[in-house]
Amino acid sequence: MSENETKSSIREDRDLANAQDIIVCEGVSKWFGDFQALNNVTATIKEQEVVVVLGPSGSGKSTWIRCINRLEQHQEGRIMVDGVELSNDLRNIEKVRSEVGMVFQMFNLFPHLTVRDNISLAPIWVRKKPRAEAEEQASSLLERVGIPEQADKFPGQLSGGQQQRVAIARALAMEPKIMLFDEPTSALDPEMIKEVLDVMKELALSGMTMMVVTHEMGFAKEVADKIMFMEGGQIVETGTPEHFFTNPTEERTKLFLSQIL
């Protein structure tokens, strides 16, 4: 309880107005063949901010978030992450990627490694940490996501919710400045969604910069600092949760909300 209070106080102490911009997108566009997936997306995300991206399927949310650690390449515009511009120069990519944690819809854990190795592999070989230190960190991260007893199991032996929590721990092990979540609960059974959302809330309270693509409206209402609504590859509307859920300005946002609420 006291832990939570200190964490929420971190969150309340933030001064978002004066925080630095950590992700800057300017006029980002991307096409898959003839289909335009992103159309002139311009947005900034500040340090310690939690941004939830909403929108109907096919609206470009996932494509955008994947452009931010360059799993997809944008074709027009600029993306700056923590002061580094994403370009074709390969040397920047690995640096950016190790600063940006990513959690996938399908977890994508490494099935041939134990949970502990899943988490400690990248710190050992990318961050060049000594093995003992990396494994200790893995244990404490597993503690943090609430499954310390699963360290020696293989991913295939865990439930979906546990796998997703391991995936979060794996991303956190790189000590990233930003966490990207690409529909982290969409592949989960309903009873497992809460355990993952709880971990994400705890992460938000601890002051992590987060960008979350999700369909969990409750999470968006409760945790987000800013909600961005996308449709047709464009950001249609940006605003605080209160504004977004109670008093949206755009017709398309209203339509979307009327369909899901």
């Binding site: 650690n69 944690g101 994508n108 070989w125 060049k128 000594p130 790189m174």
Partner: protein, 608 residues
């Protein structure tokens, strides 16, 4: 139980019954023999006809085979007398202890490995009984079919009845009674070896005096056969117990790794140091070989320690590329082959350094791997370049089954990494790698193996630059390697494609470089998927070694087909020898395929 008296008790018992049964599937009643026959063999008119016809065909085939094998005209003594020729060709008799030492060492490794990997499963004795019943029944049937003399018929009937008897004894045992499959196997081997001492198989020996003389007398087998095999058996069994004893005392993961490495290295060691017995030239050793080794180990270690620093950056790549360039350039100048090879190997270690870079322990470990590979390489090259003391006619010191095994081993050990490299190149992002690899693979796969073999044994030695020469055996081994590598590459590529895009993305998202992603994430998963097709390929390779006979290398098949029938005493014994050779190939391939099924289970293929 007096449930007549109290109904409540009955109900209570029923409940217990239900609760104990609830977790288990209902038992299916076993079919009686007549029902089984009806359900499986005579279920309708067509199946009945099929059953009758195929049974008749099988019986005819068995009868034909038996009357071939037990025909008094068959010269089985040709195979028995020439066993040594079949196994090792003309390896000198007074040095034969070396063969047994090598075999003993491999059996020693086998025993220890079986213990460490906890091989073997428990087999129910009743199952063993069923097997024995079937075997005994088959022997009885075969005896009645075969055209034996009355005496032989009686002996075989007694043997068959004896086995059936044991089967009948074991069959009704409870399913709790079980033994380890290893105990069973060693029991069978023990019986076979005891029979060498007791049963009069016949005393065959080939005396290679000035005028070779062939002896075939009645009696038990020669002392030079039964004594070593008995020792081999003792070695294998005792090393198993040694393994079970020490595995509790030492770190298991480490010793397993050490065992795997010994499996890779010991054939080289046995072949080039024990069997070949090189006549090392001390002067040359101290003036050339050891200085070269020391130079590369010191310079290489310093270089690699530096290159594995985490913050080395672009400088490291430039220097590694420079070493690679120097390595290729050495081929333009006159110098020792060993220097060229070592420079190239160093270049590859340098190029891979950033992938494995890290803190001090990681860097030191990487350097240790370099020194270990250097020791093995230097020693191997030196041993190969040293003349052998084994005086043997012909250009290679060993032949027969031994050379079949040797070429098979080298092919597998070297074709595997080459195949993986080719597969990676074929799926690489760089068009030049993709092009080279695709062309190579498609070219090799489009040419018959025998063509490649003939090309390498006849043409390639002519193309070599001055000062380089390649024995026929080496040339042919290279031919096998490139052929098998091309096929293995396709198997591995299948595995690589089975690794999902999500795995690539997850590895990229945590900032792994391309080579780290390949080495830690993609390859382990790809190879696991590729196990079944690769085992198929390995078995095929083993059988393809038979082609060596066509290009005139004294392999197992060549000796059976051409050498033995050439002996005056044994003219026309080709069929007997070929039958023996097929049996050996069959036993080995069958056990490889069985072993691979166990391996698949072990790595959990299709489960995880």
């Amino acid at each position: 139980m007096n449930f007549k008296n109290s109904t409540s008790q009955t109900q209570h018992e029923k409940e217990i019954d239900i609760s104990t049964n609830s977790g288990l599937p209902p038992k299916v009643a076993a079919l009686s023999p007549t029902e089984w026959l009806k359900a499986n063999l005579f279920s309708n008119a067509f199946n009945s006809v099929l059953t009758v016809v195929s049974t008749a065909a099988i019986l005819l085939i068995i009868r034909g085979l038996l009357s071939f094998i037990f025909n008094p005209l068959r010269q089985w003594s040709a195979t028995a007398t020439n066993m040594r020729l079949l196994m090792t060709q003309a390896y000198p008799e007074h040095q034969y202890a070396r063969i047994w030492v090598s075999l003993g060492f491999l059996l020693f490794l086998t025993g220890i490995s079986l213990a460490f990997w906890r091989a073997g499963r428990s087999v129910q004795l009743s199952q063993v009984g069923k097997r024995l019943l079937a075997i005994g029944a088959f022997i009885l049937l075969a005896t009645l079919l075969a055209p034996f003399s009355i005496r032989a018929t009686i002996i075989w009937l007694i043997v068959g009845a004896f086995i059936v008897g044991i089967g009948l004894l074991l069959n009704p045992l409870h399913e709790d009674k079980a033994i380890s499959s290893l105990t069973l196997l060693s029991g069978v081997f023990l019986l076979a070896i005891l029979s060498l001492w007791v049963v009069p198989y016949g005393h065959h020996s080939y005396l290679s005096t000035r005028t070779p003389k062939i002896l075939a007398e009645p009696g038990t087998v020669a002392m030079t056969t039964k004594l070593p095999w008995t020792i081999m058996f003792v070695v294998a069994v005792s090393s198993y117990f040694l393994g079970t004893f020490i595995r509790e005392k030492i770190d298991e993961t480490r010793s397993k790794a050490a065992l795997s490495v010994s499996w890779l290295i010991s054939p080289l060691f046995l072949l080039f140091l024990v069997l070949r017995d090189p006549d090392f030239d001390t002067g040359h050793l101290f003036s050339t070989d050891i200085p070269i080794f020391l130079f590369f180990s010191i310079v290489g270690s310093v270089l690699l320690l530096w290159l594995t620093k985490p913050d080395i950056g672009e400088k490291g790549r430039v220097i590694s590329a420079a070493i690679l360039f120097i390595g290729f350039a050495t081929f333009l100048f006159q110098m020792l082959m060993i220097v060229r090879i070592l420079t190239l190997v160093l270049a590859f270690f340098a190029l891979a350094a950033p992938t494995f870079s890290g803190q001090k322990p990681a860097r030191i470990r990487y350097t240790k791997v370099w020194i270990a590979s250097l020791v093995i390489l230097c020693w191997l090259i030196t041993a190969i370049n040293t003349p052998s003391t084994a005086k043997v006619p012909g250009d290679f010191f060993i032949g027969g089954f031994a050379i079949t095994l040797m070429i098979f081993f080298f092919t597998m050990v070297l074709a595997f990494p080459l195949g993986v490299l080719l597969a990676l190149a074929r799926t690489s992002k760089f068009p030049i790698f993709r092009m080279i690899s695709t062309t190579f693979i498609e070219f090799i796969r489009g040419v018959p193996l025998i063509t490649i073999l003939i090309f390498f044994s006849v043409m390639v030695p002519l193309f070599l630059p001055d000062g380089m020469d390649l024995t026929e055996i080496a040339a042919v081994t290279i031919a096998f390697i490139i052929f098998e590598a091309a096929y293995l590459a396709e198997n591995v590529r299948g595995g690589l494609q089975s690794v999902t895009r999500g795995q690539h993305e997850a590895a990229e998202a945590v900032g792994m470089t391309n080579s780290q992603k390949t080495f830690f994430i993609v390859l382990p998963q790809a190879l696991r998927v590729a196990i079944p097709p690769m085992v198929g390929q390995i078995i095929a390779t083993f059988k393809e070694t038979g082609l060596l006979a066509i290009i005139g290398i004294f392999d197992f098949l060549y000796i059976a087909r051409s050498v033995i029938p050439g002996q005056t005493q044994y003219m026309g014994s080709t069929r007997e020898n070929l039958l023996f050779v097929s049996l050996v190939y069959l036993v080995i391939c069958f056990s490889m395929s069985k072993a691979s099924q166990r391996v698949e289970k072990r790595v959990g293929l299709g489960e995880r």
